[in-house]
Amino acid sequence: MVRSDVQLMLGVKQGDELSFELLLQRYRRPLCHFLNRMVRDAAQAEDLAQEVFLRVYRARRDYEPSAKFTTWLFRIATNLALNALRDGRHRQAEISLDAPAEGEDGSERTVEVADGAPIVEQQLVERDRVAVVRRAIQALPEKQRAAVLLHKYQEMDYDEIARILGCSVSALKSLLFRAYETLRVELAPLVAPEASGPSPRETSEGRQP
């Protein structure tokens, strides 16, 4: 029988290491994906994901199953990411302007060229596509970004996302609407024509009062 998150966490509280391993197996990927999309640097995202698990481990003795486990887990992750982004902004202000350009994952930007031209081209197109989406998500205000990631990738319900972000459900819907509205414009070149319909800028005259 599959043990629930709460049952596993209560096991961790009693000092059962296997329960912690199982929680790690269950949430390592979703947490890493979430943090990877939240912060710019891949190494930093992984470091933050580890910090989330470390905080869960540290808090094990005081754990009370009062809220859903995922709400608690992603709340820790969101707060850590928002703090890291805030600290990053402060540090960035001190970095000199002649620092080398960096790729999306924080590493120095390089383009690999090989002989198999069609495959490489396809990879480059795919890589560009991923980079465009990443940049568009990164450009969103931090709270909108977290809302989109939790809504689209973690497929959480509105109540849970609102609890994680510390806002009302109606405020969350508004955040999501504004975020997707921005992404609709930014990602228009990637969206299939039949899906996107007429360009957002072309249809303004059709707006209802």
């Binding site: 990877n36 580890q50 540290r58 990443r134 998500i137 819907k173 508004s174 609407f177 319909g197």
Partner: protein, 156 residues
Amino acid sequence: MKCEQMESQLIGYLDGRVTVRERREVEQHLAACADCRARVAGFRGVWKVLEETPAAEPSAWFDARLRQRIAEEPAPGVWARVAQWLPQRRLALASLMLIAVGFWAATLTHPRMPAPTPNGVEMSQDQNFRMIKNMQVLENYDVLKDLSAPSGVQGD
């Protein structure tokens, strides 16, 4: 419904998390508003693009590094270890409080000894004296002497 109201309804509509009435209202508006129809199509397109975009996977050494960090955590203090043995810390605390209240209640039912007064020692001596004075056996020592002597054996 106006375009502005779509801000609170559109996400729920696209997720299929609206009531039948809300759904009908949104669809009525969409039938009349090309701008919002484009928005709906655009949002669906964005969602598809987002779903198709992969994220970086955790590194192969993620678990090993985490285990190392956990191993480096300071050991819990004495009280934390004691608390770990208690199955329910709140229950234990409640039990302790109950015992404390029990002791307090016991002191209420049994009146305390009177506080010592300046002549407390004299009063105590007086009480002892009266008690001794009332003991007839001590007042009438000869009776005691007669009783203790066996009938067949007389003293000199």
